[in-house]
Amino acid sequence: MKEDLKIKILELLDEGKFKEAGKIAKGSLELEEFYREQTLLKETLKSFKIRRTPDNLNEKILEKLFEEKEVAKDFEIPLLNSLLKIFSFPKISFSAALSILTLTLVLIIYSINPIPENLSYYTYKVKSKIEFYLDKIDSAKDLFVFMIDTKREEVIKDLIKKEANKKNEEVKKWQIKTEKSRRELPYFYHLFLG
């Protein structure tokens, strides 16, 4: 019975209802002593709370935290970091992986079987694209060689000659064609051929 009353007193003290707790304790020496004891204990314990940290402790902590952050930054490898950033983005990493896979497949097909008879339309398209770009690369290489070539003027002359020959051949072809089909050249055609 008294134990229950003690718990009740504790609960009331906990809620800050000191008067009510005192009322319950009244009349019994043991309970009154218990009430005094617990009230004193509560007050004493409260006084142990430290409300302020020592001077500069927060500044010290901040300094330590951000010093560490700077050190970590110095050790980062920029290229690797940027690459990781790109691949951490899901859409980009997915499309990058897909394009790498496609390119590998195309290269495998192209190396195993250059021009098979039963080549499908899409393989043909891919192949022609590759050839187109290879041609572009070749032209770029020629241009580069041309730029560093010391006998540039001779090369230019050769090119002009080649171009003129090409033009003549075109004209001849066209004339043959028109003779065969008995068609006349349009009057403006000469304007373009010079």
Binding site: E11, K42, K60
Partner: protein, 177 residues
């Protein structure tokens, strides 16, 4: 805290100084007080507070933006750190800096000294409960969340510790007389 915790947490995740400053302003004294009351050493409490926030800084991304989880994690670090120190120094002197908490000129020195020695005789778990509830003033709900114990259990355990502490103090008083 004036600002919403979510906003501060975003700053913490990006390691922004203002966010850490706000957290320190709100929690450092509580952590310091907790470790000091647990260990009894001022020097250790200072070192411990720094260490707790340093560990928090390193693992901030593990906590997913909830204030309760943040506080729980913070106290778990502080608790583990304090228990570690307590166990290592159990047989040496755990109340080395008592004068800092209870100065000799305090009119209630005798009572405070007695209560302080009483707390130091409690088991780790009991001591933690008394510190959180009676010294730091946490609500039962907060303690239940911090320690992962049902609220009813927290209440009954704290009441039991109060009775136990009173008994210890009485026996200490008897020995003194």
């Amino acid at each position: 805290m004036i600002m919403e915790f979510n906003k501060i947490y975003k700053g913490l995740e990006k390691n922004e100084k203002w966010a850490w400053k706000m957290i320190l302003e709100n929690y450092s004294s509580r952590i310091y007080s907790y470790i000091l009351n647990f260990s009894g050493s001022r020097e250790f409490a200072e070192e411990g507070t720094q260490e707790v926030f340093f560990r928090m800084f390193k693992s901030i991304k593990k906590i997913k933006g909830k204030k309760e989880d943040f506080e729980k994690y913070l106290y778990t670090i502080a608790k583990n750190y304090s228990i570690d120190h307590y166990r290592k120094n159990k047989n040496i002197n755990i109340i080395e800096d008592k004068d800092y908490l209870i100065p000799r000129w305090d009119p209630d020195f005798e009572t405070k000294d007695l209560v302080w020695r009483g707390i130091n005789q409690l088991e780790e778990e009991d001591r933690e409960l008394i510190i959180l509830r009676e010294i730091e003033g946490y609500s039962y709900e907060e303690i239940s969340n911090l320690l992962d114990i049902p609220m009813g259990t927290v209440k009954s355990r704290i009441n039991r510790v109060r009775l136990k502490l009173a008994e210890i103090i009485k026996s200490l008083q008897g020995r003194k007389q």
